[in-house]
Amino acid sequence: MKDRALQDDVIRALADAPYRASADWQRRELADPDRVERYARFLARHFYYERIVHFFKYSRALARITGRRPEAVLKQPGFDALLPTVVLGDRETARAVARLVIEYVGESGGPIPYLADLLRYEEAMMVVEAGRRVWRDADGAGGAGSGERYRPETVEGTVLLELAYDLPAVLPSLLQPWTEVPEAPRRPTTLLVARSPHGRVAVARSDAAVAAVVQLADGKRTLEELATGAGLEVGRLEETLQGLVDLGAVRFSTGS
């Protein structure tokens, strides 16, 4: 095995707890297993600290009302129990960690009517961000904008979020100084949460047409079929698709 592949193996062992416990890894005896385990646990806590602080920043800003800082879950038994299954960057692990935060902060019973919506929104951001990403453009052959444009396909992990409150109207003020908890208008709101191949998470308001396109774009339907299904003219559909491609929600498969 070449050195670069060997390095990948060490990185995987640190990131992927089930692999670290496997005979495949252990028989290689590349490093002291106790030291590797301790370092892997340190990395896991660091990895999810960064993500919780970033993606749950709004409920963090509300901690003086809820009395619960989201990152506190990392020092609780629930997170320790997850450690043997943690795979850094994996969507299932992100979901499991986000659920710990939702349970902990959501149980606070703070007088914030939109808290449940807010936690679902933050969970969606954290889960969408997870998954394999392109680190170098040379690694990203294919994807949006390259190759022959063919049939649109919703990118795996893209989420449509139905909320009871208009969160985008209140989020900026949560990060500003406030004395009374900022209020969110109560009106049904649909948000689209997507991630670029490089890992940038974006959120946009969605309407029924956008939601239909996201739900129908399966890489098999043609533009005409998609337009019919979404109730859009082809010209409007193309505009909508371009916006979705820019967000990272849709890519064009090349028909292979």
Binding site: D3, I11, A15, E29, L30, A31, R41, L88, R136
Partner: protein, 262 residues
């Protein structure tokens, strides 16, 4: 040795305090300024800024987008040099990512990779490149030479500057059971341009000390003074703490104590 600049990292949550602070010569920038940061114009106006962002891992060549980003940030900051780390923290296929600095194997193959890609990056920058040492918590049996030997060969082959992170050296010495001064003496100190100084704290997972956004101890400050006196080309010493939990008091007191110790 020229007069050393003493500074810290720009922590945006401490923007109001840093915008009017005295006694700080420079700020290292770990992230680009947020568009909404009201303190950024004053910070940019007031300080020498050092580019210390994640540009990419030099086990692979940086792509054009990353190089353009590095050039753009260096220009924005008027940075006198551009820093990167001796790190290899994600797999080639992008599936696994540690999201934390992690050193490469110290082998001939990795040396050749880092030399080639650092030269390529340096050729595209208008500022000198400096590279920071990264601590290992455990040794990987596939490494072929000690880290200081690998680093010396890298710096001699590239002419790149050395950003010497002292807590990293201290931690490696600690976990190998050798005095930090003796371990430090192995490193190619004649290439050092900048030094990092910070505190260490006990970590429950590691069951020992690790880097933390904390004040340097008296022992660390004495180690910094010892190291700085052996780095004839050093230009700056930076309090290496970048965290939302860092307080203004810790930052200012640390910079003051570092300056007094040197």
């Amino acid at each position: 040795m020229t007069q050393l600049m003493v500074g810290a990292f720009y922590n945006p949550h401490l923007g109001p305090e840093l915008a009017r602070a005295e006694g700080i010569d420079h700020l290292a920038m770990a992230d680009p300024p947020a568009a909404t940061d009201p303190w950024w114009p004053a910070i940019r106006e007031r300080y020498t800024l050092l580019l210390h962002d994640y540009l990419g891992q030099l086990s692979e060549p940086l792509d054009e987008r990353s190089i353009r980003r590095a050039r753009s940030l260096a220009e924005l900051y008027h940075s006198p040099w551009v820093a990167e780390h001796f790190q290899c923290l994600h797999t080639q296929d992008g599936t696994f990512n540690l999201n934390y600095v992690f050193p490469p194997l110290y082998t001939e193959e990795f040396l050749e990779r880092f030399v080639r890609h650092a030269r390529a990056l340096q050729a595209r920058l208008d500022q000198p490149l400096v590279m920071e040492n990264i601590p290992g918590f455990f040794d990987v049996r596939a490494s072929q030479m000690p880290e200081p030997v690998w680093l010396r060969r890298f710096f001699e082959a590239t002419g790149v500057g050395f950003l010497l992170d002292l807590p990293h050296v201290w931690l490696e010495a600690h976990y190998h059971g050798v005095p930090p001064e003796r371990w430090l003496a192995e490193f190619p100190l004649e290439h050092v341009v900048e030094l990092h100084v910070a505190g260490v704290e006990h970590d429950d997972d590691l069951q020992g000390p690790w880097i933390a956004p904390a004040e340097p101890s008296d022992e660390m400050l004495a180690f910094a003074a010892h190291a700085a006196s052996r780095c004839p080309k050093a230009k700056a010493v930076t309090f290496d703490a970048f965290s939302p939990s860092l307080t203004a008091e810790v930052l200012f007191r640390s910079v003051k104590r570092i300056r007094a110790a040197l």
